[in-house]
């Protein structure tokens, strides 16, 4: 196995509260798209927060490129190359698009290089160039999500974790978000995705992870997850995978 990130049976929760995750595991392979599915409250967002260092991991390990990430701060984990886009509220609403992009490169020390990379992003996402001096909070949902995803690219991350990038977006816009995700993947960024629409998420992924009650029930090739009758029954509304 040539895994990039290995999460083994972690236990984690908020503050001194009860363990939300208990027995969650996950394997991330370089360059692939991974999709976490599971019902509301399963702990999908919590798992991502635990990986990026926002929650203390009480038990288990998060190993990235052979290095233990447990106990590291979010900024340290970011510097390792793992970037997290939270579910909703990822942006600074009263900063312009350009300022948001600058914040995306907050950990870069070379200011010239940062401006060069921002230019590169604006080149690739014309809608962001058009809105460069507009407050992020005044853009449409799809534009905001585009900015949140594009912003991760500034630091040239190894892994990008996207928590429900399609939330609240019209189907046509959702497709655009998946297209951006595929483009990121094609460039060699490893993607870890949480998706409410399990069918759509798994179809666009290489690897599937089923999470429920803070535990990993199943993980394997996305096609296998799609084909599994139990999972079809529980999470895919009994629909036949195409």
């Amino acid at each position: 196995m040539s895994e990039l990130l290995q999460v083994t049976n972690i236990t984690a929760g908020y503050g001194d509260g009860p363990a939300i995750l208990d027995g969650a595991h996950l394997t991330v392979e370089p360059g692939k798209v991974h999709c976490i599915i599971g019902p509301n409250g399963a702990g999908k967002s919590t798992l991502m927060k635990a990986i990026c260092g926002m929650l203390t991991i009480r038990k288990g390990d998060v190993i990235f490129k052979g290095k233990r990430l447990n106990g590291m701060r979010p900024d340290q984990i970011l510097r390792e190359g793992i970037c997290f886009v939270p579910q909703e509220r990822a942006l600074f609403p009263k900063m312009t698009v350009r300022e948001n992009l600058r914040m995306g490169g907050f950990i870069l020390d070379d200011k010239k290089e940062l401006e060069r990379r921002i230019e590169g992003i604006l080149e690739r996402f014309p809608i962001l160039r058009e809105r460069a001096d507009q407050h992020a909070g005044t853009m449409s949902g799809g534009q905001q999500q585009t900015l949140a995803m594009a912003r991760t690219l500034i630091i040239k991350p190894t892994i990008v974790m996207l928590d429900e990038p399609s939330l609240g977006l019209a189907p046509k816009i959702v497709q655009e978000m998946f297209d951006i995700m595929k483009m990121m993947s094609a460039e060699g960024v490893t993607v870890l995705l949480v998706e409410q629409n399990a069918l759509m998420g798994l179809k666009n992924s290489d690897w599937g992870v089923v999470l429920d009650l803070g535990r990993t029930l199943f993980e394997g090739p996305a096609a296998d997850v799609l084909a599994d009758p139990r999972i079809q029954e529980l999470y895919l509304g009994g629909k036949k995978a195409a």
Binding site: P74, F84, L91, F92, K94, M95, F106
Partner: protein, 292 residues
Amino acid sequence: MADILQILILGLALGGVIALMGSGLSLVFGVMRIVNLAHPSLIIGGAYVTYWAFKMTGVDPIVMLPVASLIMAAIGVLLYRLMFERETKSAKYSEMTVLLTFALAMMVEGLLGGLFTNTQRVVSPDYATDAFFVGDIFIPKGQLYAGIVSLTIITALSLFLKYSRLGYAIRATTQNREAAELLGVNVNFICILAFAIGIGLAGAAGSLVSFVFSFFPAKHWEWVAMLMSVVVLGGMGSILGTVVAALMLSVIAAFVGTWIGATWSTLTFFLALFLILLVRPQGLFGEKPEMA
């Protein structure tokens, strides 16, 4: 006409000082959601530092301003680490800070009263009792200098927030603490820094206040309501809003004071606070309160 111009100028100069008094309060609320009821008492702390420096060495209050500011900023760091740092994760954080800072305000008042008695003080450098005359209009030098220094400091603060790397981090933390943390901002450090700047601004305001108003330890009760109305009208957390609101209310108060009567002039601020909370609780430049 000259009358109106005269009142306007006095109102603006005083408004500049009030803007500086409120800007630290606004910054601290914006970044940390701390409603710092002790802010005015710390301004009085800065005024006493300036007063004693003047009395003992004759150093000019405006020269003393950076020193008073640094002393208060250092006290700010201590207060933050002692009182607020551990509480940031608490769900009742904002409510708790109101009680904590209320207690702090009374402690500061008691301490200053014990040390310096409750006698009214004022620093009197030469310019404090001097004035410029432009035609029929007279402009007290003390108020004019204080107003100009205040607006200069606020401009510097705004430029720092807008363009510097730390300024970006402070604004980002204000708008979305979690996202800032995820992008590599050390939010705890930013909170300490912002609190230090906020209390440093209280110190700076104290130096100016020391020769513009007479003061004594319990004076802060008068100011807390005035500053609250300025900060709420401006929109909690918005520095620009604080400045606009301070200038606006101060000018209105100056007109009310001249045309209706001095006792009504302070009432302007309280009435404004009441009306804003009824009509537009998010203030001029603030965001709508979240309905969570």
